[in-house]
């Protein structure tokens, strides 16, 4: 630890063997997207020769849990913190405490606009992912009826994906006929889609805020006896399940946020910073639209990057 | 029939009480009159409707038909709270105790002694005063309780009943209703309760309704006995060793009532 002793007790944190420790607190570790990020983090840590500790709340909506995990990292006086805030501004007070305790903070995936304390932001924002999805949809169809499926109501990351897409589609001939939530759950995605199809038999486009719900929606479409060829289904995240579905010719596209890169770059940047280097204050990892054409290649890349069996690094 | 009956307006009068539970008619038009300082015995077979009648008087049940008069005034006893405000206290057959609370607390729930007296719910509990008081009240009934701070739920059947009786006796101001108050009591405790029943009307000017299956007790303490069968009053008598057999006959339905009403149905 470099400075600013927050407690009187603690020895110098997790650096058991004199190595530097980077604590990575993601939103959660229980979803394919975040496991991908975790894979990047681990590889980054291994490549740079630092200890990384990975943590995440039990679900993306458990803000309080994440705050507790950041607090634990401060107590341990880690050398640097990489955080993917579950809620942007809501994490600012605790992250400012970390900065005040002399721990540099790097943000990944979700930025906190206007917060001076951060060292950098690595990622693309979710709104941008939504915009990209919207653009892709406009490429494929210039008119039709779209149904959008949201995540847990009030979850900013899934909400801004939808907002990005809806803002992009505004003014086009695509009409939004359904806007419902399926709590980021696959089974609920299926149920909601089944109801949407009944009320709006002419739906031709489906955009879901994550791949899980998109895959659930596909099951509903199949069950309704409709042809998947006639309906454009787009998800977000580029999970391996989504890739398999695209390879099977079911899902049409998924907007991937290059999650692995986010994880890896953030650790690399943290180490650079700890070694006295200066880093850019914004690193865009970009988004990729994975389609049936690119699915194979992207899938292979995923396979290679997948997190080790046991994501914990201790 | 008793000396009181003509003396004044009855303390309590029930007229034409009807109470139905779904398809069961528990009370089929019951009249009951209780005079000042009178002890009325309410007799009847199991399921005759005695408990239902007294629950209607104390506001636990609402009558389907009929009316209740206190000191000649028609009242709506819509809840047990209302009955208590009219000075009516009861020992129910199922005792209605708080098994999770100790003896002292059980006696005072709903009548708590508080430091600023009038404050009801917000008053500071005066536990010391209550504990002192409890000792006295239980002493008059000579119940042995192993521990006044013990949970009432763990006490013996008789101990529980004694607590319930002590509670009602303490707070009755106008009418005290006792539903089989000595059923679980020991020999001595029973004697004490019967003594209290005899003493209280004089001492505190209250009237008592006693439900009992024990003819001896009824003869000992009651000024008047009302016999019910199948939701109806089938007779009233002045209890004495001589009329005990009559009363039993009325209860089991072997004969016409000796009182003003005949055996119906």
């Amino acid at each position: 630890g470099d400075s600013g002793d927050p407690g009187d007790g603690g020895s110098s944190g997790g650096a058991s063997d004199g190595q530097q420790t980077v604590a990575v607190v993601l939103k959660t570790l229980s979803s394919p997207f975040w496991l991908q990020v975790a894979g990047g983090v681990e590889d980054g840590g291994e490549a740079e020769g630092v200890n990384v500790t990975l943590a995440g709340a039990t679900a993306e909506t458990q803000v309080q849990e994440q705050i507790d995990k950041v607090r634990a990292a401060i107590t341990q006086q880690v050398d640097a913190l990489v955080v993917a805030p579950t809620q942007a501004e809501q994490l600012e007070p605790i992250l400012q405490q970390a900065v005040d305790a002399g721990i540099p903070v790097l943000l990944v995936d979700t930025d906190i606009e206007g917060w001076e304390g951060k060292e950098t932001f690595v990622g693309t924002d979710n709104y941008q992912a939504g915009v990209t999805a919207g653009e892709y949809i406009l490429e494929q169809a210039d008119s039709g009826q779209i149904a959008v499926i949201r995540g847990v109501p009030g979850n900013p990351s899934t909400d801004s994906r939808i907002d990005g897409a809806l803002d992009t589609l505004e003014g086009s001939d695509i009409e939004v006929v359904a806007d419902l939530s399926a709590n980021s759950d696959r089974a609920e995605g299926r149920a909601v889609m089944a109801d949407i199809l009944l009320a709006n038999p002419d739906v031709s486009i489906v955009f879901a805020a994550n791949d899980d719900m998109a895959l659930g929606a596909i099951e509903a479409i199949k069950a309704a006896g409709l042809d998947l060829e006639d309906i454009l289904v787009v998800g977000v995240d580029g999970t391996s399940d989504a890739v398999d579905s695209m390879l099977a010719g079911e899902l049409d596209a998924s907007v991937a946020q290059n999650s692995y890169d986010m994880g890896r770059r953030s650790v690399e940047l943290a180490v650079e910073l700890l070694n006295g280097g200066t880093i850019e204050d914004r690193v865009d990892t970009g988004v990729t639209v994975v389609t049936t054409d690119t699915a194979e290649e992207y899938g292979a890349q995923l396979e290679e990057q997948a997190a080790a069996e046991d994501v914990s690094s201790d | 029939m008793t000396e009181h009956e003509q003396s004044a307006v009855p303390v309590l009068e029930v007229r034409g009480a009807v109470k139905r539970f779904g398809a069961v008619t528990a009370l089929a038009g019951v009249d009951l009159t209780v005079h000042r300082q009178e002890v009325v015995g309410l007799l009847g077979d199991n399921g005759a409707g005695k408990s239902t009648l007294i629950k209607a008087i104390t506001g636990v049940h609402q009558l389907d038909e009929g009316e209740i008069l206190l000191d000649g005034q028609r009242v709506h006893v819509t809840s047990p709270t209302a009955a208590r405000e009219h000075g009516i206290e009861a020992v129910y057959q199922d005792l209605a105790l708080f098994d999770n609370l100790d003896v002292a607390t059980n006696l005072y729930v709903g009548h708590e002694l508080t430091k600023p007296r009038g404050w009801r719910g917000l008053g500071w509990l005066d536990r010391k005063a209550m504990r002192r008081d409890v000792q006295e009240r239980l002493a008059t009934m000579q119940v042995h309780l192993p521990d006044l701070k013990g949970q009432v739920g763990l006490m013996s059947g008789g101990q529980r009943q004694a607590i319930a009786v002590a509670r009602a006796v303490a707070f009755a101001r106008r009418v005290l209703i006792l539903d089989e108050p000595t059923a679980a009591l020991g020999v001595r405790e029973t004697r004490n309760v019967l003594d209290a029943i005899r003493r209280l009307p004089e001492e505190h000017g209250i009237s008592i309704i006693l439900i009992s299956h024990n003819m001896e007790h009824v003869v000992q303490v009651c000024d008047n006995a009302v016999v019910m069968r199948q939701g109806r009053v089938v007779g009233t008598t002045r209890p004495s060793p001589e009329t005990a057999q009559d009363m039993v006959a009325m209860i089991v339905g072997a004969t016409e009532g000796a009182g003003k009403k005949g055996h119906q149905q």
Binding site: S181, R186, L198, D212 | G22, T25, Q62
Partner: protein, 354 residues
């Protein structure tokens, strides 16, 4: 009780004394209708939904409703037994995830094509979790199953996440997919599964001794012990059964999504409990019926489906669903009171004529 307060002023003899015949028949009909209980309630709610949205009553949509309510219904049938014993099983949602993941692992590891090995293994996994719940509660002499089943809620979710590595496992055998989306005519297989399970639960609960014991334990656990009911064993078996129902629900969830995923079944326990309670069971034990439980699950399903059909926004759905639940139980209170009232009036009449 308050409903009769206004009648205290009526003259002795009662208002019904004079009119026999016609009114009586009307009364009888009214009583029959009102006694339908929760079913009446469901019909009212369905009528409202149909009025609001013409699509609602289409046979296909009714199939959808059945399909969507089936998972909650299966869980609720297991939960019913638990609630009748005055217990609660909070773990069922997580157990869905654990069972389906364990079943899916079989498929992946052994490359099973047929579901007929996977299905029993899912049910078994659920039963195992239930056995742990029951044993902890009963043998651990805990006063209430809230904590052990809450612990299982966490542990089962954890196990699901750990063994699946947080990843969904896609690809289910045909037999399982059938339960997820297959239909015979308009009737989904899942609905047939629910019906079969309901018959089983009905028989267990009402026709054999074990069910009698469950009601006895719920009515008075200490008394059940005293009359020689093997209380501990019955209680454990009830949690095992609830776990097996969760395993059965896992089949439907896996079939619906053609996959097993570790976050499946999240919060389903609350819906299942709500269904049982809406169906008229008592949290204090000893009361509850199979029909009521099914109707409770259907009420929740109908409301959700109706709101989706009308494209009500999720934030408004929360409000609407909450309001609908309250209205539903409130209607049932009114219905029950009306029933008592009608019975009393009928008795009055019978007596008046006699």
């Amino acid at each position: 009780m308050t409903a009769v307060a206004d009648r205290e002023d009526a003259p002795p003899g009662g208002p019904a004394s004079g009119k026999p015949g016609r009114q009586s028949r009307g009364l009888h009909a009214a009583l029959t209708v009102v006694r339908l209980g929760p079913v009446l309630l469901l019909l009212i709610i369905m009528a409202v939904m149909a009025a609001l949205n013409p699509l609602f009553l289409s046979p296909f949509n009714l199939g959808n409703v059945g399909l969507e309510a089936s998972v909650v219904a299966i869980l609720a049938l297991g939960q019913l037994l638990v609630i009748v014993t005055a217990g609660i099983d909070l773990s069922v949602g997580s157990v869905i995830a654990m069972s389906s993941i364990l079943g899916a692992l079989w498929i992946r590891e052994l490359d099973l094509v047929s579901g007929w090995l996977v299905i029993p293994s899912m049910i078994l996994a659920g039963g195992l979790a239930g056995a742990v719940n029951g044993t902890l509660f009963v043998k651990g002499r805990l006063p209430h199953p809230f904590l052990p089943t809450l612990a299982m809620l966490m542990v089962a979710r954890g196990v699901a996440l750990i063994v699946s590595d947080g990843q969904p496992i896609t690809g289910m055998p045909e037999s399982i997919k059938l339960f997820g989306s297959g239909r015979i005519g308009h009737v989904p297989y899942a609905v047939i599964l629910v019906a079969a399970l309901a018959v089983i639960v009905y028989v267990l609960l009402r026709r054999i001794t074990w069910g009698q014991w469950i009601y006895a334990i719920g009515g008075n656990r200490e008394a059940a012990r005293r009359v020689g009911v093997p209380v501990d064993r019955v209680l454990i078996s009830v949690y095992v059964f609830s776990g097996m129902c969760a395993g059965t629900a896992a089949i439907v969830v896996s079939g619906q999504t053609n996959s097993a995923y570790p976050t499946a079944g999240n919060l389903m326990e609350l819906s299942a409990i709500a269904a049982v309670i809406i169906g008229g069971a008592s949290f204090f034990g000893g009361r509850g019926t199979v029909i009521g439980t099914l109707v409770g699950a259907l009420i929740l399903g109908v409301i959700q489906n109706g709101l989706n059909l009308m494209n009500v926004q999720s934030s408004w759905q929360y409000v609407a669903l909450g309001a609908a639940v309250v209205i539903a139980v409130e209607l049932d209170v009114v219905r029950a009171r009306l029933e008592t009232r009608l019975r009393v009036v009928r008795t009055e009449e019978t007596e008046a004529r006699a």
